[in-house]
Symmetry: C2
Subunit: 994 residues, 2 copies
């Protein structure tokens, strides 16, 4: 077996064994070098040792696999032939570089070793051949230092100190300079550098216990092994763990013929982007250091020049670069980040990869690439004339390189997110972030925020009222905290997952939120929080980064990006392509307007319960509490009557904001005790007591003082705080998620349904009167049976039609249900008999299908998702729909609901409505719309378009397979995700045969 | 339409329009009279007015439907022809009785009116025709009294007072008796009764405002209307509501020619059973009152004679009765309860119905009927010779009338239950029960119990230790209360449903338990409970009736029935027939032995967690708490090591008790915080603190006093109560049912799994060493994904195989999973790849599928099940499997699990395993076994046999349809259950077309 495996891939002189799609085998760098060679870019010849060879070597405790050395030697011969120089030759030696390169860019791996192939004899040969003794010894001293420090582990500082000493003594003395002043490396002459070589050699020998190897192949072997070993260095392992990089077994090793940017002023080395990475402008963007080798650029001792200057200094080299830019963008269809060296006016490409860019540039580049060419036709022609640009690129150079669909496909959800949320100022040095970081939680809502720590909603409201920026820090949040949450710039909780109360509420507002910070301990009594061994007090500054989930001590500046016009262009393209509608989850006129601005086509979920927590009208919550604590229907109706005008007003505002777009209003859903004050909330309890007692107290006040009987009678009716606390306790539930909530409330208290329907319909009628078009869809939550649902649907229609009749008004409205219990999904064909629409409440559906409480899962779900631990799921199922489990129920309900009622309206309003993978699934099963929080609307628009494009291209690939093809594609994707399962499965299958 | 409906059904002279299967239309009594006439029994002729006529009349505000009067008159003519007398005739009038009779026996409806057709003239005619003036006037005074009080609402007391007065004045004076002494009705002579008639007529006129009607048809009409109206009397409505009788619209009315048991000493009236209803012996059993009419029997003024005496007094009448007995049992194949009248030595049957019987008699009668004849062949022949018994009955009379299968089909679960649980002494008068009743809760576990009220588990243990019988009364119970629960005779909780903690634990023990008693308020502080307006204190006596759910003040005697040998015979028949195996849920050797005695064939669910609560070894719980509170794996393993010997001991005991029968052991399932002391349980917290600190304290004690450093270091390690309370708080979950429990615990803490598997396997190896066969099945709870399950299955095998290797032992064991989350059921084809068996945990599966917390559902589920309220479900889904929802998942998992692993072992271990309807479903979907609490094992055996029989008879009915037929039958049954839905559905379907 091993003999057949190919370990080495050659590239050079326009041909390459490898290809760009072999990243897993060759590493990103190796695949890039092969590809660049193939497409005719000037790449120094060389070869790549595969990642498999690395993995094999590691597994064999450092022993190379059979055949590897042979292949390396054979390829080295090939390289010598291409380069027309010999490796280890003493006259005009072939020199090579060795670089690591895994499939994914990975800091912590071994860096470059240059100039391999020099020794005490060859350096003299190089001096002659190059005509520069200084250059030769400079190259040799660099080799010894790099090989010594990087491959053999000798302290780099020892070399640097020796180098400095020689500069300060020899060079300074020779030039008569102040030994403590600044002396340029270029001031050192050949002798200085020769002295360096001697010094470095003895440092090397001291450190390694043996002299610097004079055999070139030994140098090469040592360097390759150093790269192999760096794969399992602590730094690399940590990086992979932190970045959740899995499925890779080793790094590739790239051996290239050396090219020199440091042979004189017609030489140089540089880094550039084919477009401006911060503005996205279609201009060549980069820096170049004249007469320098790679590491000099990094060291930053000399100031590099901009490409514009290069144009003047080395016009030919610049033209070669321009041609490269065209070739790269035509070939890769993407903005590239490249490294190059100019050796005596000839350009050599050392690396290229897709370039990182700013949020705005992402859109500008995508739209530009889809609408205009790379360079004017005249320039392309001129470059072709000079033979720098192959002819076949000329016509492509001035045309768009991608289609609009490809532009859309390129954008990711995070690209949009980064446009709308504040981010930590990128100018803050990494080291500062590092030192300030206290810990991390689950990154529930992106964006960065800082503010004073407040441990209670009251405190947050108080301090915010005084103008302070506050961060609310809680164990977990409850609906009682909504006031404090709304004024905070960011929210941090110790408990909960991405769909906990804090996360859901914050997401609706697009407010930075970090949850499930396991290490966070809060001592409410003392007013302190402890995280990562540090303790902060209430009022101290704290910064949250919702993107990464990182938590920092003190204040770190944040900036908010602005969206370029190309963002709008691209989103319009999306809207034209997609078939899936995008609605929003919004509970207020403000959120509704915001969502419409962001492209929402309706409201898919208007939660009526949030309306009761409006902090500016506390009487809402008080009336709600009166309603809940009422002992009988009459008292309940009295309280509901007080709530009616508020709800009606809210609905009117929302209908007005949506102006004719459909609005799905969900009837009261949470368990009633969520509205009650906690037992220890004395103020809350007192408010309720006062509200409930007020009418009696008023009556008491009007009783004549002598009428003791009446007074006594009335006094008996007064409730006490103890009574209220007792009632709160009575309403306590063991598992409120599965308790008395949703439409169960309306089965028990139909008057709640009546009030809410009245508010909706009266608001609609009022709007209609003001010539505002209204399309209400009344949604019944948590239904589990068609008979239950039928009773409530009838009640909704009875109430609504009664009002319309009284008001002599006409209105088209729908009545439907959430499908959020497994039973509702399982009996969809029955549910569809009574429901005009289904809206999949995938949050609760996930909770019940998987038996996972989203509020509690934080304690164990991370293990399930962590691929290095159990690795059972590939994403948090509350974030990305569990297609294999919950998805089956959704699909079943869609198919069976449609079978009963072909025109049934189908949508999704769970948090998944804003998740790209989940949206793809929604498109595939044929939902009519997704609904998500306002700030995720653009992401949903994008994902919906991408899903359509994917489906179309799947259809094109096999036109006859039709829709089934798309289904298969998703299935395939799912299958791919479960690849890792195979090991377990195979093992299990054997057992299954018992 | 109305003209075509037939309102009246005639019977008489061996022919009848109606049939026994027309109970719904004719009422039970009407159908019985028709059937008895058909089969040749001597029934007085008459006719039945249908229940539809009643319903129509009620709907029309008392107006008879078109055609009813015409039909009545026509049938009356027919009756006159049959009876050869005329209704309303003055010479020899036809007299009739009017009786109500609904499809279901229903107290509170109108009673009988006899002797209709008499008036002032006819009474004289009757006197002449009968030859007894006394008889005629007795009949007339009865008519006036019954018609007046029953039909017209005149107070019965007025008649009784007048009757008494005449007795005390006229009769007593005439006979020279003491007016205040006891005077027999029979002492009254014709004149006395004539005086009565006069007095009654004036009472009637005073009460009704008009004279007693002299027109016979008017009397008939009035009586019929009185029956109609009694259907909507308050008493009848209440009865129907309380007994949950639905689907009936009215009562039938039976008009029969009068026969007279009061025409002399060759007359009489009686009630009897075809077999002894208390012992079940095959002897005629009944009483007869000579010279009396029906109501005299009820009044109980004279002592009736036993049938044995009748044999001597009226041998011919007795022979007629014997023949009737044969005919009835051959025809109805059941013991009958019958009413008859003997008029001048001729027998007339007035009513027959299946007779009620004692728990033991139920089995004796069924087995006797299936194994021996009714009477000896000689007797049958003799009766035939006398023409009392038609010839066709002779041979059947001495053969079994039913098959063994029919005997099995006849037995109901409650019949078995009544054999094993104590019941309230039937001799306690109903009035006493009435006066003692405080209220009612949900009848979670049957049986009756009394004892001192204890409000805490501690108090219960203390008082039980002192020899007292105690009833534990709690708001709800938690695992901490198990000790107190185990010593109580009965348990009462204010919260929870049939599958709450209290109910499940009590059911396992067969201990009387009433839960969800909404009206019950407990004041732990004051030590009082209040229910139904009465307050009791700790130590007061309380009686619970777990059958009805009723709660009584004070002590009411209970008795425990004994099972007759025929019970065992019948259960053996069941065992031969059934294909479904029956296992038990048992956690201790004692429960296991008990279950085996009751017929269990294995353990389907051994819950390992209950073992930690063994009150006689409190160190178990302490070690468990140490384990939970451990800060790291090392400490956790130390605590687990302490638990290992206990678990191993328990498993050994159980394996020994089961002796080779399979034992399914479920790994730890409940959330860990269930094991921790509540925050306010100071003693519990202290115990944990002491246990955790003990090793440190021991070390501290051995430190030299001068070694301050070591002392300080060790002291730092000591934990405080505050720390423990904080940890308990940290472990708190919002929805523990969906939280960190089940196999999630083993994903997080694999060492728990290791310890438990070690305990199981070591116990098994120990038993094997003692020549005890062991078949362990290790069950992983709450799995949601095949990868999760695969990880744990591998870990179980690794641990188990390691031990077996170390111990050089061989053992066949299975590893499987509970299917108790919807996702597990949905992905069954994947789960079956790693699981060797599935056990459906239908408790949790129901909770999650329906989104119903069983602990909280008590607040609203009753409305869902109550047919008079929402009526959404036909049974509590935690009691009887929700076939339409949860059942779909079970079926899906069975089919898909089998597709992957054809030989997969399938069972059910939820509470549903003991419910007959659910067992039928389990048989139908093809499970291998059901598992239930020990005391329900016999019921499960019975139900399993019944399911097989039903399936076979369905197959016979249509042999080609095969298995599908059985499926259809269950489907049909389900369809029947959902009949009530139709109204809603039809309405909805119309909407669906919009």
């Amino acid at each position: 077996m091993a003999a057949k495996t190919r370990w080495v891939y050659f590239f050079g002189a326009g041909k390459a064994d490898g290809k760009s799609d072999q990243k897993a085998l060759l590493g990103g760098k190796g695949a890039g070098l092969a590809e660049m060679t193939r497409i005719g870019l000037p790449v120094p010849p060389g070869f790549t040792i595969t990642t498999e060879a690395c993995a094999k070597t590691i597994n064999k405790d450092g022993k190379w696999p059979v055949g590897l050395e042979k292949e390396i030697r054979a390829n080295m011969k090939k390289l010598e032939k291409t380069a027309k120089k010999k490796f280890g030759d003493n006259k005009d030696p072939l020199m090579v570089s060795v670089r690591s390169g895994a499939a994914v860019s990975m800091p912590g791996m071994m860096e470059t070793i240059l100039n391999l192939g020099l020794n005490d004899q060859a350096v003299e040969g190089l001096a002659k051949a190059s005509g520069s003794r200084r250059f030769a010894f400079d190259a040799y001293r660099r080799l010894i230092m790099m090989y010594g420090s990087t491959a053999m582990g000798v302290s780099r500082e020892l070399f640097d100190e020796a180098f400095d000493e020689i500069k300060r003594t020899r060079t300074a003395t020779r030039l008569g300079l102040d030994a403590d002043g600044f002396i340029n490396d270029t001031d050192m002459d050949a002798d200085d550098l020769e002295a360096c070589v001697e010094r470095f050699k003895s440092i090397y020998e001291e450190g390694c216990g043996e002299p610097f190897p004079q055999d070139a192949f030994e140098q090469l072997k040592g360097s390759i092994n150093a790269v192999f070993n760096s794969w399992t260095s602590e730094k690399a392992i940590t990086y992979r763990r932190v970045e959740k990089i899995t499925g890779l077994d080793g790094t590739g090793v790239n051996i290239c013929q050396m090219v020199f940017g440091n042979m004189g002023d017609d030489c140089g080395t540089g880094v550039c982007f084919t477009r401006d990475p911060s503005s996205g402008e279609n201009v060549y963007y980069g820096d170049l250091l004249i007469n320098a080798q790679g590491e000099d650029v990094v060291a930053g001792v000399r100031t590099p020049i901009h490409l514009d200057e290069l144009k003047k200094i080395m016009p030919e080299a610049y033209d070669q670069l321009e041609a490269v830019r065209v070739i790269l963008e035509v070939h890769y269809k993407e903005m590239q980040d490249l490294e190059f060296t100019i050796e005596r006016n000839t350009l050599y490409m050392l690396q290229c990869r897709t370039g990182k860019r700013s949020p705005g540039a992402t859109f500008k580049i995508a739209v530009d690439q889809a609408t205009s060419g790379i360079v004017p036709a005249s320039l392309a022609k001129r470059l072709a004339k000079k033979k720098y640009l192959p002819k076949k690129y000329v016509s492509a150079a001035s045309k768009p390189v991608i289609t609009k669909e490809e532009a859309i496909q390129r954008i990711k959800g995070v690209d949009i997110e980064r446009l709308f949320y504040p981010i930590l100022d990128p100018d803050v040095p990494a080291s500062e972030l590092e030192s300030r970081k206290m810990g991390a939680g689950i990154n529930a809502v992106p964006g960065a925020a800082y503010g004073e720590i407040c441990f209670s909603a009251e405190k947050a409201e108080e301090r915010a009222g005084e103008g302070a920026k506050v961060v609310l820090v809680r164990h977990e949040t409850s609906p009682e905290d909504v006031g404090g949450m709304s004024v905070a710039t960011g929210i941090l909780t110790a408990m909960g997952g991405k769909t906990s109360h804090a996360a859901v509420v914050a997401r609706g507002w697009g407010k930075c939120c970090i949850v499930g910070c396991g290490g966070l301990k809060i001592n409410y009594k003392q007013g302190t929080m402890t995280l990562g061994g540090q303790t902060l007090e209430e009022g101290d500054m704290l910064t949250l980064d919702g993107d990464s989930g990182n938590i920092f001590k003190g204040e770190i500046k944040t900036i908010t990006p602005t969206a370029p016009p190309e963002y709008d262009t691209l989103m319009q393209w999306c809207d034209k392509i997609r078939t899936l509608r995008v609605r929003t989850n919004a509970d207020t006129p403000e959120d509704s307007s915001r969502a419409v601005e962001l492209g929402a086509e309706g409201i898919g979920l208007c939660r009526t319960e949030h309306m009761f927590f409006n902090p500016s009208e506390p009487e809402r919550l008080i009336s709600m509490r009166e309603m809940i604590l009422a002992e009988n229907e009459e008292d309940r109706r009295l309280a509901l009557d007080k709530l009616l005008p508020y709800q009606r007003k809210d609905f009117e505002g929302i209908f007005e904001a949506m102006d004719g777009k459909p609005v799905t209003v969900r009837l009261l859903d949470p368990p009633l005790h969520e509205f009650l004050p906690q037992e220890d909330n004395k103020q809350g309890v007192e408010e309720v007591v006062n509200a409930l007692n007020k009418p009696i107290q008023d009556e008491l006040n009007s009783v004549e003082y002598w009428d003791h009987n009446l007074r006594a009678k009335l006094s008996e009716k007064l409730v006490s705080a103890e009574q209220i606390i007792e009632r709160v306790e009575t309403l306590h539930e063991s598992n409120p998620m599965l308790g008395h909530r949703g439409c169960r409330l309306c089965i028990t208290y139909p008057e709640i349904l009546e009030m809410q329907v009245r508010a909706i319909i009266e608001a609609a009628v009022n709007c209609t009167g003001r010539k505002i078009k209204v399309l209400p869809e009344i949604m019944i939550p948590l239904s589990i049976d068609s008979r239950e649902l039928g009773i409530l649907v009838d009640k909704v229609r009875e109430t609504a039609d009664g009002i319309l009749k009284d008001r002599k008004s006409k209105l088209t409205y729908l009545v439907g249900t959430m499908i959020e219990t497994p039973r509702a999904a399982l009996t969809a064909e029955e549910m569809a008999e009574v429901a005009e629409f289904f809206s999949f409440g995938t949050n609760d559906l996930t909770q019940m299908t998987m038996g996972l409480s989203r509020d509690d899962a934080g304690r164990f779900l991370p293990d399930y998702v962590d691929q290095d631990k159990a690795g059972i799921f590939y994403a948090d199922p509350f974030q990305s729909l569990d297609v294999n489990g919950v998805g089956r129920l959704v699909r079943h309900a869609v198919e069976n609901g449609r079978a009963t009622r072909p025109k049934i309206k189908l949508g999704i309003c769970g948090e998944h409505g804003g998740d790209p993978d989940s949206i793809r699934f929604c498109h595939e099963v044929g939902l009519a719309y997704v609904s998500c929080s306002p700030l995720r609307v653009p992401i949903a628009r994008l994902s919906a378009a991408q899903a359509t494009i994917e489906e179309k291209s799947a259809k094109k690939a096999k036109p006859r397979a039709g829709v089934k093809k798309a289904t298969k594609k998703v299935a395939k994707k799912a299958a791919k995700k479960t690849n890792a399962k195979k090991a377990t499965k195979t093992k299990a299958k054997k057992k299954a045969k018992r």
